[in-house]
């Protein structure tokens, strides 16, 4: 009865929330707009709207004359390898923690949860020193290894495996299959939905990561997009709004595409985190 009543009433939400939604979208529209306006300085004033034009000169300049293609490659490369690592090791460890009885299971599971709760600024300095000791600072390894195995991915897979039925694995065991083969041929395919969540969230996190790549590298050759962009904006280009917004757009487009395609997995990743609390 109450359901019927609330359906009959015209929803007020769209009208009330429309101005807020506009506030969300306008800054991004403005970023796109500035990125295609000609002129070195970029006109930030509202007058720019009345003399709107279209040019790709900023994109061309970024891709031709600067280190941007390199940043783009670095970001893609690092994110791909890290996500691969998160997926593979998340599946391995998450499965073992959920299914296997062994001495130390509780300790290792608590290690996962504790790692999730340690703020990263506590680890920032010692990680820097560990990498320095291993002579890995300013290498791709510094951008990859510390993030290759990810506690959140492990946790997510563990929770997922806990609610999977055992039967398939048990049947394979009766047939005499080895444990690693069971993992690779039976468990791994079953984990696909959880691993999709791990992959997409890992990609977003890594693609947007800033503090650690900033600290662990100091050469232009190794910078990722966010770091390259932030440092670019601090130098002589501080007011090259056309260039800055073109760079921002290049950095935002892959995640926006990922968002459109994988919205469900992204939301699942967030709420999976919330349910543990």
């Amino acid at each position: 009865m109450s359901v019927a009543r609330s359906v009959q009433r015209a929803p007020k939400a769209p009208w009330l929330l429309a101005p807020l939604l506009l506030t969300m979208l306008v800054p991004f529209a403005w970023m796109l707009f500035l990125s295609v306006q000609p002129g070195a300085g970029g006109d930030l004033s509202l007058h720019a709207l009345s003399k709107a034009r279209f040019t790709l000169e900023h994109y061309a300049e970024l891709l031709k004359q600067s280190a941007f293609p390199r940043y783009l490659f670095n970001s893609l490369f690092v994110a791909t390898v890290v996500v691969g690592g998160n997926v593979l090791t998340g599946a391995m460890v998450g499965y073992a923690l959920a299914r296997k009885r062994f001495f130390g299971n509780r300790a290792l599971t608590w290690g996962v949860i504790a790692t999730l709760m340690v703020p990263k600024q506590v680890l920032m300095i010692p990680l820097y020193l560990v990498l320095a000791k291993l002579h890995l600072l300013n290498t791709y390894a510094a951008l990859i290894l510390p993030f290759f195995v990810d506690a959140f991915s492990i946790f997510l897979v563990r929770q997922y495996v806990m609610q999977l039925p055992h039967e398939l694995e048990d049947a394979a065991r009766v047939d005499g299959a080895g444990e690693l083969r069971i993992f690779a041929t039976i468990v791994l395919p079953l984990l696909r939905p959880a691993l999709a969540v791990v992959a997409i969230n890992g990609f977003l996190l890594n693609w947007n990561s800033f503090l650690f790549p900033l600290i662990f590298t100091d050469s232009d050759k190794l910078r990722t997009l966010p770091v390259g962009l932030a440092l670019f904006a601090q130098g002589e280009h501080a007011v090259d709004w056309g260039l800055l917004m073109a760079g921002s757009t290049i950095s935002a487009v892959p995640v926006l595409l990922a968002f459109v395609v994988f919205q469900r997995q992204i939301i699942e990743g967030i709420t999976a985190g919330a349910e543990k609390g």
């Binding site: 930030l44 923690l97 790692t115 600024q121 920032m124 820097y128 932030a230 709420t271």
Partner: protein, 297 residues
């Protein structure tokens, strides 16, 4: 010992340890060792430029931090940031979730729009807002067209931090909206139906059903958001560099400068631990506060 007991305790299975090996390795090398190492480091005078000259100082790093006015400025700015944004972010997120809970045409577009800033790099968001806040930029023009004297946003020590906070509320609300939506979906519909039968107004339903049932969600949102806000760094790095007049130096920004401009890694480790303790304390207080009140039902 029966076979069952042996099974419960588990026997050594090489495959298990092969599967676990990445985590054991990562936990030692990238979590436990650094965690312990930085604790030890916080009692030393240590520069990576001259590690041989490391000197044990006892608690001197901690004492120095507590005496440094800039440390307190940074802490004050950070706490202003945390306590100044969280009420707005939380109520905006809750309001959005309540508004977008029931189906209507275009609802998914609304949800996606509010969530959008969450997936975009905070560097990009900070750059865009730096442009919006520029003296010749659109927000100043908007203020002028309303007949106001536009504030100098990021260039004025009195408004710089507030400007970054406003951006943070804008950027973060969508994330917590998603969490509130999940919390709202978990509330059984029967409760609302029963309340409707008894003639409860929509305000009463919100007050006596929705809010009490959302308590665990509130707790999660508060803890996660305060832990995150205590670590605000990128926004400051990109938008103001801590200025003007240190008005936007946050604790992590201060830590970063001490560690990677001045190379005082021992001192910076002490700061990191002070900040870590504060994070734990704040999370603990929030858990206590929300637990103590207890469900009213």
């Amino acid at each position: 010992m029966t076979a069952r007991a042996a099974k419960r305790r588990g026997r050594f299975e090489p495959a298990t340890w092969i599967l676990l090996s990445p985590w054991i390795l990562a936990l030692i090398v990238f979590v436990a060792y650094p965690f312990g190492f930085s604790f030890a480091l916080s009692f030393y005078d240590y520069s990576p430029l001259n590690p041989a000259a490391a000197k044990f100082l006892g608690l001197a790093n901690y004492a120095e931090a507590l005496k440094d006015p800039l440390f307190w400025t940074a802490l004050k700015n950070t706490l202003v940031f945390v306590f100044g944004t969280i009420p707005f972010t939380t109520s905006l997120a809750l309001g959005l979730a309540l508004g977008l809970k029931r189906a209507f045409k275009g609802r998914d577009f609304y949800r996606a729009g509010f969530f959008l800033p969450t997936v975009v790099s905070i560097v990009v968001i900070s750059l865009v807002w730096k442009g919006l806040y520029a003296p010749e930029g659109p927000l100043s023009a908007l203020a002028q067209s309303l007949g106001l004297v536009p504030p100098r946003w990021l260039l004025d020590p009195n408004t710089a931090l507030a400007s970054i906070m406003a951006m943070d509320v804008w950027a973060a609300s969508g994330y917590y909206m998603v969490i509130f939506l999940a919390g709202l979906q978990a509330i059984p519909e029967e409760l609302y139906e029963a309340a409707a039968l008894e003639g409860a107004s929509s305000w009463q339903r919100l007050r006596h059903i929705t809010l009490p049932m959302l308590k665990p969600t509130f707790l999660f949102v508060l803890v996660v958001n305060s832990v995150r806000s205590l670590q605000i760094f990128t926004e400051v790095f990109v938008m103001t560099g801590g200025g003007p007049l240190h008005s936007t130096v946050t604790s992590v920004f201060y830590l970063y400068e001490q560690a990677f401009y001045k190379f005082r890694l021992g001192y910076a480790s002490a700061i990191a631990y002070l900040l870590f303790s504060l994070t734990l304390l704040l999370a603990f207080v929030q858990v206590k506060w929300l637990k103590l009140e207890g469900p009213k039902s």
